[in-house]
Amino acid sequence: MLKINNLHASADGRIILKGINLNVNPGEVHAIMGPNGSGKSTFSSVIAGSDDFDVTKGQMLFDDNDLSDMDPESRAHSGIFLSFQYPIEIPGITVTNFVKTAINSIRKAKGLGDMDSSDLLKKIREKSKLLDIDSRFLSRSLNEGFSGGEKKRNEIFQMAMLEPRLSILDETDSGLDIDALKVVANGVNRLKTRENATIVITHYQRLLDYIVPDFVHVMFDGQIVKSGDKSLAKNLEEKGYDWIKKELN
């Protein structure tokens, strides 16, 4: 589904990603861990198509289509979703209307008409229940005045509504208390199917107790330096990132 070969990317002339290789297949959950500044968030932004970064070398294929040729909206249309570490606030546009605009944009790109309002409302009710979201929350302006936890829950709500094939969760656990973390993780797990895949980007092992990965990758200085199964995350938690650094030296 997603094939990353020797990906290099830079921002303002500074090289951040220095040759990433990663394969993600349908049904898989990958976790990318690593210390601050290792390039995790850059990696997720580059896949989603942020123009803050220049891809200088390598290849990103999604369903064998080269992502470099696609703008962010086209990537979303083909099924890529990024849950932002810092979701933005949009005053005056309610969560419901925002989701409606997004869904209909994606449908339009696929040559479909607008989603029927009653179907949309039904889906909204179903997905908000899954994430334990109060209906009053849906008529508030998008992310405006939301707590950190509400913003993250809203990201996963959007993911539930848009039903992407590849979801990248960038530090979704940051700012969440343990109860909110369980709700969000439970939502992500329930949305998982054999056809879709998830990349979980996190600094801490804690989230991986709830979203259990098939593969764990450790990113350091713009490269994936170690890959393994979920036990790698446990090792990291116990020994810290210094362990990796020592191993590399």
């Binding site: 909206e73 944009s105 949309l120």
Partner: protein, 438 residues
């Protein structure tokens, strides 16, 4: 002939139609003398530094129109709030159109200024109110006063609420060549009364129109007024709008100005507070493209303690358009406990657009809360990426963010149908279809 010369030579002809022995005509003559001395403002005047009338004044305009050109209702229906039952005072080329209007004398007066100026029963009111709060130093206002003849007259008696909104609409037919129009409106709210008024100038043809409008509004104690100005005229039309509000104790006035069209638009909006516990609100959204120019000049004069004023203007400029915001807040030394806020935020959507923004605060009292802020920026790239990552195409994403930028000004529009209309005007201006009714 330059417009000034033409106006001066036309004044004698104008006088032939007027009763010269009235108090009103004495006011006209006095103002005419003033205009003759000062003439039109130029860029040398500090208040006109960023807005030049030179090109407009060079054109040849017809100053008097004799006949009303009939307009079919279906042609202009969209310029009215047709979904609502409203009172309407409609003018075509400066002449009252009884066919399109819906006036009243039942409980309130919604009628013509010409009637109020000429009928005895209004004499006392005219003497009390006409030309009482205009700035005598403003030459465009004095010009309008000299030629005062027609406009809207609205009188809401004590403790009465106008049940329907009132629309004042000035059409120009475009069938009489270039026109110079000078409507004069007089609006009086007695104690404890309320009204909602919508004003619009709309050109229907391709001839040039220059309108120099003056509106005087008097709010007596505890009265409440919501006033909406919709400026979405065609590119051959220019408007100089001089609006003066006089507020007595505990009154509450708000003026929203939506400037989406026209060639050159100058809004001189002046609030004078003459009592305590007064609230004054000025809000505006300006969306301009191309050669358009909008200039908002606001003034709030706090002359008494315990009053408030709120100003919030949003400007969105693209493709060579030019905006000006000049907001003056004056706080007299006896006006303690004044709360005065002013905000002017601007988005420049490309490199070729300009905004000149200038807050001016003159504060002589020492126990006040006054703040002002102005920003000039562009759409946030991160926000744009966020929306696009949800599948929303770049153009729509930009429109959504622009809409969100201006949105809080819309929140205070109290007529739901009007709010919806303005939303769709904004969507139209931004070139997208935004559906928000879920």
């Amino acid at each position: 002939m330059e417009l000034k010369e033409k106006l001066i030579s036309s004044f004698v002809a104008f006088e032939e139609e007027m009763d010269l022995n009235t108090r009103v005509h004495k006011i006209r003559s006095k103002n005419f003398d003033h205009f003759e001395k000062t003439g039109f403002p130029s860029k040398k005047d500090e208040e006109w530094k960023y807005t030049s009338l030179d090109n407009l004044l060079k054109k040849n305009y017809r100053i008097f129109t004799k006949e009303e050109f009939a307009i079919e209702l279906k042609e202009v229906k969209k310029f009215f709030l047709y979904e609502l039952d409203t009172y309407k005072i409609v003018f075509i080329d400066g002449i009252y159109s009884p066919f399109l209007s819906d006036t009243t004398h039942d409980g309130i007066d919604v009628c013509l200024l010409s009637a109020a100026l000429n009928k005895n029963k209004y004499e006392k009111i005219i003497n009390n109110y006409f030309d009482k709060i205009t700035h005598k130093s403003d030459s465009l206002t004095t010009l309008n006063t000299s030629f005062t003849k027609e406009g809207a007259y609205i009188f809401i008696p004590k403790s009465v609420s106008s049940e329907k909104p009132i629309e004042i609409v000035h059409f120009s037919s475009g069938k009489q060549g270039n026109l110079f129009l000078q409507p004069r409106n007089l609006i009086i709210l007695e104690e404890n009364s309320t009204a909602q008024i919508i004003e619009r100038h709309q050109s229907l043809g391709k001839s040039d129109v220059l309108t120099n409008s003056v509106t005087e509004i008097f709010l007596n104690e505890r009265s409440v007024l919501d006033y909406y100005k919709i400026q979405n005229d065609s590119l051959n039309s220019s408007l100089i709008d001089n609006t003066y509000l006089s507020q007595m104790a505990r009154s509450n006035a708000s003026v929203h100005t939506f400037s989406f069209g026209g060639n050159l638009t100058r809004n001189n909006l002046n609030f004078h507070q003459f009592g305590e516990f007064i609230q004054s609100t000025m809000k505006g959204i300006t969306i301009l493209q191309g050669t358009q120019h909008v200039d908002h000049h606001t003034l709030v004069k706090h002359s008494n303690p315990n009053c408030e004023s709120h100003q919030d203007y949003k400007g969105i400029f693209s493709n060579n358009s030019v905006g000006v915001f000049n907001g003056k807040i004056y706080v007299d030394k006896i006006a303690q406990k004044t709360n005065a806020f002013q905000q002017n935020n601007n988005l420049l959507l490309d490199r070729n657009s300009t905004i000149n923004t200038k807050p001016q605060l003159e504060i002589f009292a020492d126990d006040v809360k006054c703040s002002h802020g102005c920003t000039v920026g562009q759409l946030d790239n991160n926000s744009l990426f966020y929306l696009r990552s949800r599948g929303i195409p770049k153009k729509e994403a930009k429109a959504l963010l622009t809409y969100a930028f201006a949105n809080n000004v819309l929140e205070s529009v109290k007529i739901p149908i009007l709010k919806k209309r303005i939303k769709s005007l904004i969507a139209n201006k931004l070139g997208v279809n935004l559906v928000y009714d879920l």
